[in-house]
């Protein structure tokens, strides 16, 4: 019997969230707090000639104004970014100054009066422009930046990193192919649009300890980076993270924290707060990466893939931040979930004068899959093979080797053919891909298969501490940030299952305090459940050991004869001989007053095993733990005259291993699907010819609203992942990553034109139709 696993347990912070009691970073205020307002660049690429703060300093309440400095330079892999622009600005919206004042109104007023004189520079407004032979350089000093070992910037170009995949023999692959297709695919940068804009508070206590509160996905990273950039002792940096109002990767980047630290330093350590406006959150803080891709596929006439040549050019914007890591992740899974013997792929991270990119839910996968899965549909068309059949024929199976030449097994890759079969059935594929509804309207179906691994630091770890209360209830402390994924509720479920107890007696600390909460690397990559889950199970084992140890002395038997369950420790074959957990978890007191033991405090940690860097020349290596797979579909109703459409149905069949919380998992998947469809259909920044973002507002950027949503159909397969807690795989991102491709495939069928750009607006379809007429 299951105590908790698989059940749709309500999230532990549910009541807080529906009553408005749930607190996010900006909800905490102190009367003595000062407020920061940024002055941001009005140009995409310009030299800063002068900054005049005379007028702004006259505003009452202004305490300090920060301007850019040559150091520190910051970055995740390449230190290429000053926290406040120095010497030149590289994107529209980049911070050029920060005003600190008593009241937010004073800070804003003063910021509006800072006068910046620019000398406009030629703008790199796309990846294509960036790679032209005489392109202006976004970073003249790329060769001299400090960087980590495994990143490969190409000085005197706009290329920040290049990952190469060289598998098999391309010549052989092309020779074996009867048919080839080649096409270009692209989309520009867009944004995460978490409903909570980024917010940070910071202060320096009299003892020198720096205390942050931040709406972040990576509180522990802030601690590390602050110490590396500013020479602070890591133990003297404390980061608090309350509930976070959505991240989707966007709150992985460490940006405002650096400005907040410099600000509090400038005002003698007084507490300061910075809260992004929506506009700043969209363009000043990092965004969702853009891509320009070329995919060439070769196949036999029977439809077996023989070769794939791929070029992914990611638009990382003005700075490399996570862009380099993202372009590397794209190389790792560059072919989608298909087995191909011969692969050549270059994936590059390119600087442009666009807002800079950071992680986005799926971390390169929705991006590369859009390109690759569109190419698969084009190939199917050329071969006159059903697109589902083509995918099934080439499906990646246990025993196959990945592009980075890792052989996967039944545990490390799920069951893709089964996902395809289930999807086929759910979508009623046999009725055909295109159905005429009336004179003007058609219904059309499109699909995409998915796979994803998580290329995360090979030393990333997660820890959990459990403490017991006198009523036998347990507190869970974990460094996973509750950004909406419900991971902390999952941890409670795992613990209830393991200790065979009522989940209502398990309490979860939602907020993070890096001083007292054990570290969880970053809340990213759908790795919360795996890493924190494994750490929790280890901590549970430790708790069981401790409970049995005390109980064995109470029950006068060997701990080996004891079991824990139902909030009791009992003798395995005589369950009537027991002691209540509550009577031993804070120590046990004998009748005569003697006491033994003390509070049960248990701990566990987990580090991913055997991950490696990629070989720079061939890409060989094991960058992630397991590959989840799935098959997704979209059904649209399309108006053949107006080129407008409605998304009717969206399907996901995902192999996520053991389903831990059914409704929770479905919610994650549907939300991710929604985000993927939104990205595919309407989200993008619109740039002027000189690189300025024309739509940094929700009014002109157009996120999905209630009623735009299709009917979501979500099915799970449960091929166990042996390393995962109870066999679970990650599920936070997977619903998203095939959606843009499936949408594009359905609309390409509907409109009978190849739609190889995103977002697919009616205007894009009109333009493409016009182009072929």
């Amino acid at each position: 019997m299951s105590w908790s696993i698989g059940k749709s347990i309500y999230r532990k912070e549910a009541v807080e969230k529906v009553t408005g009691a749930a607190k996010y970073t900006d909800d905490y205020s102190k009367k003595e707090m000062l407020h920061i307002k940024l002055v941001v660049s009005s140009h995409a690429h310009a030299k800063i000639i002068a900054i005049d703060t005379t007028k702004s300093r006259q505003i009452p309440g202004v305490r300090a104004i920060l301007l850019g400095q040559p150091f520190p330079l910051t970055g995740e892999e390449i230190n290429d970014r000053p926290p406040i622009a120095f010497d030149k600005v590289r994107y529209h919206g980049e911070p050029v100054a920060a005003v600190i004042a008593d009241h937010p109104v004073q800070a804003k007023k003063a910021a509006e009066l800072v006068e910046v004189t620019y000398e406009v520079l030629p703008v790199v407004n796309s990846v294509k422009e960036a790679l032209l032979p005489n392109a202006p350089l976004v970073h003249e000093n790329l060769g001299s930046y400090e960087r980590i070992e495994h990143v490969y910037p190409e000085p005197n170009t706009n290329i920040a990193d290049r990952t190469k995949i060289r598998k098999g023999n391309m010549e052989k692959g092309w020779k074996e192919s009867d048919v080839t297709v080649e096409a270009n695919f692209s989309f520009g940068p867009s944004d995460h649009i978490a409903m909570e804009t980024r917010c940070v508070t910071a202060e320096i206590r009299p003892d020198g300890v720096v205390v942050f509160s931040s709406a972040t996905q990576s509180p522990y990273m802030i601690k590390k980076l602050l110490s590396s950039y500013f020479g602070l002792e890591e133990g003297e940096v404390i980061v608090n993270t309350p509930l976070v109002g959505g991240g989707y990767g966007g709150k992985v980047a460490v940006q405002l924290e650096l400005i907040a630290y410099m600000a509090t330093l400038a005002v003698g350590g007084r507490p300061v707060k910075i809260l992004n406006s929506r506009e700043e959150d969209m363009i000043t803080s990092p965004v969702h990466i853009g891509l320009d891709a070329t995919v060439k596929l070769g196949a036999t006439k029977e439809g077996y893939l023989t070769a794939s040549e791929i070029m992914y050019r990611f638009d990382s914007g003005a700075y490399s931040d996570k862009g380099a890591t993202i372009s590397r992740a794209a190389a790792v899974t560059c072919t989608g979930p298909y087995y191909i013997e011969n692969i050549w792929c270059d994936s590059i991270c390119v600087y442009t004068n666009h807002p800079y990119a950071t992680a986005y839910r799926g971390f390169s996968h929705s991006e590369l899959l859009f390109a690759f899965e569109r190419a698969m549909d084009m190939l199917a068309k050329k071969l006159k093979i059903d697109p589902l059949e083509l995918r099934k024929k080439n499906a990646f199976l246990p025993g196959h080797t990945t592009p980075t030449q890792i052989r996967l097994n039944e545990s490390t890759v799920g069951n893709l053919p089964k996902c395809i079969d289930r999807l086929k059935q759910l979508m009623n594929w046999k009725e055909g891909q295109l159905i005429q509804v009336n004179e003007r309207k058609v219904r059309a179906k499109g699909i995409s298969c998915i796979w994803k691994t998580s290329t995360i630091d090979s030393e990333a770890s997660s820890g959990v501490i459990l403490t017991f209360n006198a009523d036998g209830s347990i507190n869970i402390l974990s460094g996973v940030v509750e950004i909406g994924t419900g991971t902390k509720t999952i941890l409670a479920q795992l613990l209830a299952e393991k200790l065979k107890m009522d989940i209502n007696k398990i309490h979860v600390k939602m907020e993070i305090d890096t001083q007292t909460t054990p570290e969880h690397w970053k809340t990213v990559a759908s790795r919360g459940t795996l890493m924190a889950g494994r750490a929790l199970l280890k901590a549970a084992d430790d708790a069981i050991f401790q409970l049995k140890d005390i109980a064995s002395r109470v029950l006068m038997c060997s701990p080996d004869d004891l079991e824990v369950g139902n909030e009791m420790i009992y003798v395995r074959d005589e369950p009537d001989t027991f002691v209540h957990v509550k009577d031993v978890c804070l120590g046990y007191k004998y009748a005569n007053g003697y006491s033994i033991g003390g509070q049960v405090i248990s701990r566990g940690n987990y580090t991913l095993r055997h991950l490696t860097h990629l070989d720079h020349e061939t890409g060989v290596g094991k960058p992630g733990p397991e590959y989840s797979v799935g098959a997704q579909g979209v059904e649209v109703e399309f108006d053949t005259r107006d080129f407008t459409y409605k998304i009717i149905k969206a399907y996901s069949v995902l192999d996520i291993g053991k389903v831990l919380n059914n409704k929770g998992a479905k919610g994650q998947v549907m939300g991710a699907m929604s985000m993927g469809l939104n990205f595919g259909s309407s989200e993008t920044f619109s740039f002027s010819n000189d690189g300025k973002v024309l739509n940094p507002r929700l009014r002109t950027y157009v996120p999905f609203r209630y009623g735009d949503h299709p009917n979501y159909i979500v099915h799970f397969l449960e091929t166990p992942y042996v390393d995962g807690p109870y066999g679970a795989r990650g599920v936070g991102e997977h619903g998203l990553i095939g959606m843009p491709a499936a949408l594009a495939n359905s609309l390409s069928v509907a409109a009978s034109v190849e739609l190889n750009q995103l977002p697919i607006t009616p205007e894009l379809i009109w333009k493409e139709k016009k182009g072929v007429e």
């Binding site: 529906v18 995460h192 409903m195 909570e196 509930l243 109002g245 959505g246 991240g247 929506r278 929604s674």
Partner: protein, 155 residues
Amino acid sequence: MYKREITLHINGDDRDVYVRNADTLLYVLREEFGLTGAKPGCLNGDCGACTVDVDGDSMKACLMLAVEASGKSVTTVEGLKNAAIQTEFIEKFAFQCGYCTPGFIMNCNSLIQKYPDADDKVIKDYLESNICRCTGYQEIEQAIKSVLLKDSSGA
């Protein structure tokens, strides 16, 4: 910064407060009264995260000056007590990060009060005022519909 004293009727109580004329209701609720349930999401009337109820109508608190609310009855999410929609949001998994939730709940509540027999069209008309980025809206649809169904069945 010139401030004036106004009286706001919030969650059943008369509250005196000094405000700038330029202060929005949202700012005053959060910063002066500590009622942080209404969230800043865009300050431009686009996202609905700051939705409260003013005299029975849902209102984006970022689109109203505090002085305009003087003499009106304002209900924030903190003023809702065990409303059916709150329970349904939990049971239908209608939120994840929870940031848009108070605004959605206030808007739903206003809809339920005004149109207990609302059909799909009316529901869409109301609820497209708020943005949620975590869910696929399907769960929110289930939550609001289950309250409306319960109400209209006369139970």
